[in-house]
């Protein structure tokens, strides 16, 4: 059955990407249960369009676009589905001597991200986690490069306001 073949193909595609997509969903929502819901909703849409997505030059960008659009444009936090995470244990940090400092910094960034608008969160994740260029981020979000620039500017300014301790780190980020 063709849909079964499509699904097998999609499963294979997702097998190497599911963790990164999970991380993006978590950064977008700031909550594991909401992230799981968001990712599931996005993948339903990916599955529905997979035949078309698979033929594009950059299926990853297409999948990211669906995930970010789902978050920005309509997805709302609900808890209708059970919230279960896979049995995999997240990898532990390597002890590099600054464990406490890094943990604090991570938690601060996590908290600050949740205070940004959905679109601001998206540009931060695409630019500084996925390392996309402004043009590629604009393509994923379906907006102009100017919008990506201004949203990045506003997001970084907001992050600075929310956690002034992160000044150095954000100055570096802004230059990237």
């Amino acid at each position: 059955m063709s849909s079964r073949v499509d699904h097998d193909d999609l499963r294979e595609f997702l097998s190497t990407r599911l963790h990164r997509l999970s991380a993006m969903a978590y950064m977008l929502t700031g909550d594991h249960h909401d992230a799981e819901d968001l990712l599931q909703n996005a993948l339903v849409k990916v599955a529905a369009k997979w035949r078309r997505i698979a033929r594009t030059e950059n299926p990853d960008a297409f999948v990211w676009r669906i995930l970010h659009n789902e978050h920005i444009s309509g997805w709302r936090r609900r808890t209708r589905r059970p919230s279960i995470v896979s049995g995999e244990t997240p990898p532990e940090y390597a002890d590099d001597g600054d464990l406490a400092g890094r943990a604090v910094r991570r938690l601060m960034i996590e908290a600050a991200l949740t205070r940004l608008t959905p679109r601001q969160r998206s540009v931060i994740i695409l630019r500084f986690f996925q390392d996309l260029s402004e043009a590629d981020a604009a393509d994923v979000l379906g907006c102009s490069i100017g919008t990506v620039k201004s949203q990045t500017h506003h997001a970084l300014r907001r992050l600075r306001e929310l956690c002034p301790e992160l000044e150095i780190l954000l100055t570096e980020g802004a230059r990237a």
Binding site: G30, Q40, R76, R81, S86, P91, R106, T117
Partner: protein, 381 residues
């Protein structure tokens, strides 16, 4: 690599991989087949026994004799012919509102609203809202009983926390990483603690875990009926998440699936339990079918109702949602619940229909591109 990049990478490293692929593919299959029943009259196409696991009767859809799925309730009430929608009011400044559930009389409705990116819980008493601003963020009130005891969750210091709200007093339920989803008339609360289905016998009680079959990776209790029957979702081994029923003290049994010639059941999913009834879907491989179960009588039906089934009352009246409208299905009758504009068929809502059928609550979500939703209440007569 900048520090911002490093911090984001560290967040990613600590994020688990969400096992959602099976569920998403099952849901995508179900959505593809949704047109199959949209616009049809109610009809039972197959029946399976619940609890015994045995098949009582099965027939291909085209041979099925249309018959009502409704068992008459203890008291006869008039079937409504018309429903009038009203937007549920929200306090000033709240842009978007929604409904998560309500009590079976229709007096109390719970949901939430957002203002400036912050969400709060809302409890409507006969249509009058009061704000329940839970500590933390991402407040969700999920259920309320006839005494006005509402339960839900929020995110506080990176943990999900379960809450109960009564007469404006917010109480934290015991347990770290916990969420409350349902409450019965006696004030027993169900939900999950640490990804395991759990019950709080009162607002102040310690949670106790529900028995689960061996090999369970996680789960949640989602709903509790007046007689203490509990519905929940479990992921067992590598199987897709399915809905289970706890009756008495033993391990739960999965909701059964009628054999309709599509192969073995892959998973089942049902929403709230009310008067023994619950609605949802059964997935066979990649194909989904809408279903109604009565866990008291042991019936399971694959159904055709107008719209994807989202809620049921104690009389077996089923709310359905199509891409353009909501419908209340009473046997083979259907009553349209008009929406204020075009609907998005991806927003299957957890609706409420009161036991007497006079109150329906849900929300209308503006089509994609807009972020607004509106809590609605229909009065039917």
């Amino acid at each position: 690599m900048t520090d911002l990049r490093t911090a984001l990478t560290e967040i990613a490293e600590r994020t688990p991989t969400y096992a959602v692929v099976d569920r998403a593919l099952a849901q995508a299959g179900r959505r593809r087949t949704r047109r199959w029943w949209t616009g049809s009259v109610a009809a039972v196409v197959a029946v399976a026994g619940l609890g015994t696991g045995g098949l009582i009767a099965a027939a291909p859809a085209d041979q099925a004799k249309p018959q009502p799925t409704v068992t008459p309730g203890p008291k006869t009430v008039a079937v409504p012919t018309h429903c009038e929608s009203n937007e549920l009011p929200v306090p000033p400044g709240y842009a978007s509102s929604w409904v998560n559930g309500g009590d079976h009389t229709g007096r109390y409705v719970v949901g939430g609203a957002t203002r400036g990116g912050h969400s709060v819980g809302l409890i409507w008493d006969a249509g009058v809202p009061s704000v329940a601003d839970l500590p933390g963020d991402q407040d969700q009130l999920q259920d309320v009983n006839t005494a006005g005891l509402a339960v839900g969750r929020s995110t506080l210091n990176n943990h999900v926390v379960a809450w109960a709200v009564q007469d404006g007093v917010v109480s934290r339920l015991k347990g770290t990483d916990a969420s409350a989803a349902g409450v019965d008339p006696r004030g027993r609360i169900v939900g999950w603690v640490d990804h395991k289905p759990a019950v709080w016998d009162s607002v102040t009680a310690q949670p106790r875990f529900l028995p689960v079959p061996s090999g369970v990776r996680g789960g949640s209790a989602t709903s509790i009926d007046d007689d203490g029957t509990i519905l929940g979702n479990l992921t067992v081994g590598s199987a897709a998440t399915s809905t289970y029923v706890w009756r008495g003290t033993g391990v739960p049994t999965p909701l059964p699936a009628p054999d309709i010639g599509l192969g073995p059941q892959t998973s089942s999913f049902a929403g709230r339990l009310r008067g023994g009834w619950t609605v949802g879907s059964v997935t066979y491989g990649s194909q989904g079918r809408p279903a109604v179960w009565n866990v008291r009588t042991g019936e399971a039906h694959i159904i055709e109702v107008v719209g994807y089934p989202t809620a049921v009352n104690a009389r077996g009246w089923i709310l359905g949602q199509t891409a353009t409208a909501y419908y209340l299905n009473v046997g083979q009758k259907r009553i349209e619940l008009a929406l204020p504009g075009p609907a998005d068929d991806s927003s299957v809502a957890a609706d409420l229909v009161s036991d007497d059928g006079t109150v329906v609550a849900s929300e209308y979500r503006e089509p994609a591109g807009q972020q607004l939703s509106h809590a609605l209440l229909w009065r039917c007569s």
